[in-house]
Symmetry: C2
Subunit: 325 residues, 2 copies
């Protein structure tokens, strides 16, 4: 109902809507409307109320709440089911995993304005001041086996890089397996949590942390050399809700393409956008470090690393450092 009131006010942006009109079209009492107006104000919406005239929306907060995300969202699945919204949360992936376990539908979305327990790959802490980043997790249920799951994060890398390019003009390159870089600095991290049997995925939680409106001082000192934000790159504030919609739409497009047509199309786009192919790299895996030439990506997403002795090493996961030669 709060959402319906907001929709009415938005439709009449720049003008007053009378209390009577709202009452009629939503079939609620004046008191109920007043309560919803108050709730919207608490959410950060600026609403002017004039006696005997009505209400006018004069300011929309920079928020990732369901109302803002859903406004004009053109997906069929992603974000069209439940949206769980938190102003602060330890980890959106954790919440999404719990919902996945409970059997929620594909496309269920968890969003947060701040993430306190967020981890990057290999368990690293990921910085996240409130209202500056975008933290979201999607519950997916692809009919694939666990070994194909690395492909989903590559699908997401392509999709999010595309959305970022279109929305902000920032040309984000992909660093294998799933970081997005702008001018060599991390602007988006993608992670996945998997619950599976041998033959099939039960659910998969795809998480993304996008550095949208951070200033350099918003990053912890140890990350300042390696992290950037879209605002730092462009000098312009990002409309986070709009970018979130673009990400959901782009991801749905590429995810569907992958499910229907296999990894081929995605892989060739991934390669085009890659900044960690055909160059010398150092790669840290769970228990070993490798150096070599990043020669190609295998059909299943594995990195093919040409070792100094000429042998080819297949790596399915790891942390890449681009070696400056």
């Amino acid at each position: 109902m709060k959402e319906a009131v907001l929709r009415l006010l938005k439709k009449n942006r720049g003008a007053y809507v009378s209390g009577e009109e709202i009452c009629k079209s939503l079939q609620v009492t004046r008191t109920a409307i007043w309560k919803h107006i108050q709730a919207l104000r608490e959410d950060g919406y600026e609403i002017e109320a004039r006696p005997r005239v009505g209400y006018q929306l004069t300011g929309t907060p920079d928020r990732l709440n369901p109302e803002e995300i859903r406004e004009g969202l053109s997906t069929r699945i992603m974000g069209q089911n439940k949206i769980f919204y938190y102003s602060t949360i330890s980890s959106t992936n954790k919440i999404a995993q719990e919902e996945g376990q409970r059997g929620c539908a594909e496309g269920t979305l968890v969003v947060a304005e701040e993430q306190t327990g967020g981890r990057g790959r290999l368990g690293r802490v990921w910085s996240s001041p409130r209202y500056k980043g975008i933290f979201l997790s999607l519950v997916l249920r692809p009919l694939v086996n666990p070994a194909q799951v690395a492909q989903v994060t590559m699908v997401a890398s392509v999709a999010l890089a595309m959305a970022i390019r279109t929305e902000t003009g920032v040309v984000a390159g992909i660093k294998w397996p799933n970081d997005l870089l702008a001018h060599g600095k991390k602007v988006c991290g993608i992670s996945a949590d998997l619950n599976a049997e041998m033959d099939r995925v039960n659910y998969l939680v795809l998480g993304a942390g996008i550095n949208a409106n951070q200033q350099p001082e918003d990053f912890p000192v140890e990350l300042r050399d390696t992290a950037t934000s879209l605002k730092i790159e462009t000098g312009r504030r990002v409309d986070r809700a709009k970018l979130t919609r673009a990400c959901l739409e782009s991801f749905e497009h590429w995810y569907t393409l992958w499910l229907d047509g296999g990894f081929g199309t995605v892989l060739s786009s991934w390669k085009e956008m890659s900044v960690s192919l055909n160059c010398p790299v150092r790669i840290h895996t769970l228990n070993k470090s490798w150096e070599g030439w990043a020669e190609d990506i295998d059909v299943d997403g594995a990195l093919l690393l040409r070792l100094p002795n000429g042998e080819m090493q297949r790596l399915v996961s790891g942390e890449v450092s681009l070696r400056l030669t």
Copy 2:
């Protein structure tokens, strides 16, 4: 304490142990001992009590309770942590997953005498009359990435086939990826449930269902042509607790070998024991059926299927039917 009383009685098998002796060596009251004796009787132990003489163990039930499994178990990890024991449970894997989620140590074991909600691969129901089969799940925390997990079930296939051969003389062959067959009929099924991030496994639950003492009539009609038990194969009753120990010991051996030395050793043993290599097969995957010649197993456990048109197809999971030519 109940376990300590049982150990004392077992140590003195064939003789009476006086109440006084038990009291002294365990530092408990006569009343406490009586309670433990009663509890043991409820568990199926036959214990004679003679006034002024003492207690004697005259019969041990065919049970998979922690006391029976631990007696003489020579592992370091598997089954040495907590053992969760159920006379009937929907699924041991489910319980083990919950414990895994709670952070239990590696080697935590869940055993059941009967499994009502057991599923085989691809969600099939798996038959399990009480006290006849062996149903166990182990929580594992290998430092590997999700793509390597198929290897664990292959490690388990080799380990359990070996244990079954040693304990019962039944030469169980492995059908890719992880069924054990005796004379072409299923005698053991192995499954795995996985919880992982992109780069590493959080926990993995390895489950095994062994047909130990079932008679043909214990299987549902639709399984009688395709399932057998160790008792049917040998004509002899299996000591289920002893076989369980052998499985845990054998698995620990092969699992350690795999962690330390990689998949090579395991793979060559797997190939030797395979009954689904170098033969024509039909393979059902999640969304497709394949026919061809099962030519080899890849280093990561994938089946290499030679298609009629000469092409090689890599399959990471699926259900194999051996084609009779």
